[in-house]
């Protein structure tokens, strides 16, 4: 059991989720309420990490964050170390890769709020923040939480992108999924097995949680007996 790798994975998952919380709420709500040309393109762009092979994503991230990129060069200037092979680089990659997991469920949840309820909120004189807090979030929070939970679970399991962008550096970018891979290569099947089982249990638990949330959300909205 590589505790350092596990700790790293959990840290990465928590950090990713925290960063994605405002993104999922504001992007999800904005996309639910807006209608504009090119919205379909934006939705497709957000969804690309779902279909692209992780190696492709990893490749583009490496190009975009590597030493020869403006972002990578800027980061090295500031902190004296490269953005790739670095936890920070991994975090950026993780946030980008998890965008669809965080945004889509939140967007669906905000979309499920009927337009006339939003209209009523406006006619009650509620400002953008007030209606978000008093109406939108109380009705959409299960969807937001679903998105964050999926992001968390997905980050725990992310492998290809992490490997390409992170370099499997122990204590820095060697997450538990890479550690498992490593253990298998070293023929240490016991270590690999115990870590895998732990991840499996965590993932199952999270998915059960997500399903329960979904059911609860259904009941929240079912009041229109017309």
């Amino acid at each position: 059991m590589d505790w350092q790798a596990l700790r790293l994975s959990l840290l990465l998952a928590i950090a990713t989720t925290v960063l994605l919380l405002p993104v999922s709420i504001f992007t999800g709500r904005w996309m639910a309420e807006s209608r504009f040309r090119g919205k379909i393109l934006l939705e497709a762009a957000i969804a690309t990490p779902l279909v692209l092979p992780p190696t492709v994503i990893g490749y583009y991230l490496l190009v975009g964050m590597g030493a020869h990129s403006p972002l990578g060069a800027g980061f090295s200037e500031l902190f004296g170390r490269p953005l790739v092979f670095n936890f920070s680089g991994l975090l950026i990659a993780s946030v980008l890769v998890n965008l669809p997991f965080a945004i889509q469920p939140a967007q669906r949840a905000f979309e499920a709020i009927p337009q006339d309820v939003r209209d009523a909120a406006q006619c009650c004189g509620m400002s953008f923040w007030r209606s978000l807090w008093a109406v939108d979030l109380p009705l959409a929070w299960p969807g937001v939480l679903t998105g964050l939970t999926l992001s968390f679970a997905h980050t725990l399991g992310e492998f290809g992108v992490v490997l390409m962008v992170g370099g499997a550096i122990p204590g820095e970018t060697k997450t538990v999924s890479i550690a498992i891979y490593d253990q298998v290569q070293s023929l240490n099947f016991e270590g690999a097995g115990s870590m895998s089982l732990l991840l499996l249990l965590i993932s199952l638990g999270l998915l059960v949680f997500v399903n329960l949330l979904g059911r609860y959300a259904g009941r929240l909205h079912a009041y229109r007996n017309v």
Partner: protein, 376 residues
Amino acid sequence: MPVDSMPTAMSELLVRLQQESPIPMDAELRCTGGQLLALVGPSGSGKTTLLRALAGLVQPKHGVISCGGETWFDSAAGHYLPARKRRVGYVPQHFALFPHLDVLHNVVSGMLHRAPETRVAAAHDLLERVNLAGLESRKPGQLSGGQQQRVAVARALAREPQVLLLDEPFSAVDHATRERLYGELAMLKQTLSMPMVMVTHDLREAMLLADEMCVLHRGRTLQTDKPLELVARPVSTDVARLVGIRNIYHGEIAGHVPDLECTQLRFGAAMLKTPYRPELIPGSRVQWVIPSDGVVFHRRDRPSHTERENQLQGIVDTVHKLGEITRLAVRMDDEDRSLLWLDVPSHLARRNEIAVGVAATVSLTVAAIHIIKDNS
């Protein structure tokens, strides 16, 4: 628009809106405080869009909206107040109550302009006014349609609005509840001093509740008038069709008889007496309408008052028994072979053995005939 200094005019709603797209609109409305204006029209006529524009939920391309002396929208001046900056009471068609809040807090949501300590007490008061006292802690999911409607109205009134906007407020409620709610709204209306606009597709509802009725078709306001006036004297055949008049015909002005206060209208072989309209030019082709209740089935034993009625002969073409009422169409012998529609009680239809193909005599009440200048 100059603001009148008289009190009733102060709370008046004045609207003039125009746009081509995305939804065409060409509307002109006014409604004074304490009055209820019904917006009537078929589905797709733009009634809800217009209402939402009044609420400030959608910004039209051109026009002016002012209420209570305050300008809410003026496209020429580039001025627009969105919904939350106006004080409108908006009741959507399916009530749109906040499902996660109980009844009390739904109403309190409309009271954000008040000091926080006063809100709960004021909400209780309002709920009493709409006969919902005792239901404060129920959630919308536990309410009946009629109760939900009342909460929505209370929430709208909580805002102390300058105009009350109701979007088909009774369409989502069952028939029995509807009848009861009509009475409640009529009573509530008497206590309110702001203008009220109600969208409905139900003519009868409009006739019952509205002080003024406005007919809307494809976003265009065709005629605004007191309901009875509008039905008796539609300004065009479009309006006539929209208010449910089926008896629409062509005719020719034969002449005027000023002494008898009547104008003569040629219809096929018949010469009809109609209300005196000196501005109509003899010889001109016109269209004319008569509501079904202006047509009387002529019973052999019933004397006819020839000064107030026009007698016509025809053949019964259609008989529809609709429960207690039988709907008849009688074919006339004008050049169009027009059908004249009327309703008779079913027992009378039976007694007179009314059937298709039978010769019939009908009487058209003079006062009910309305001539529309032919604009075809």
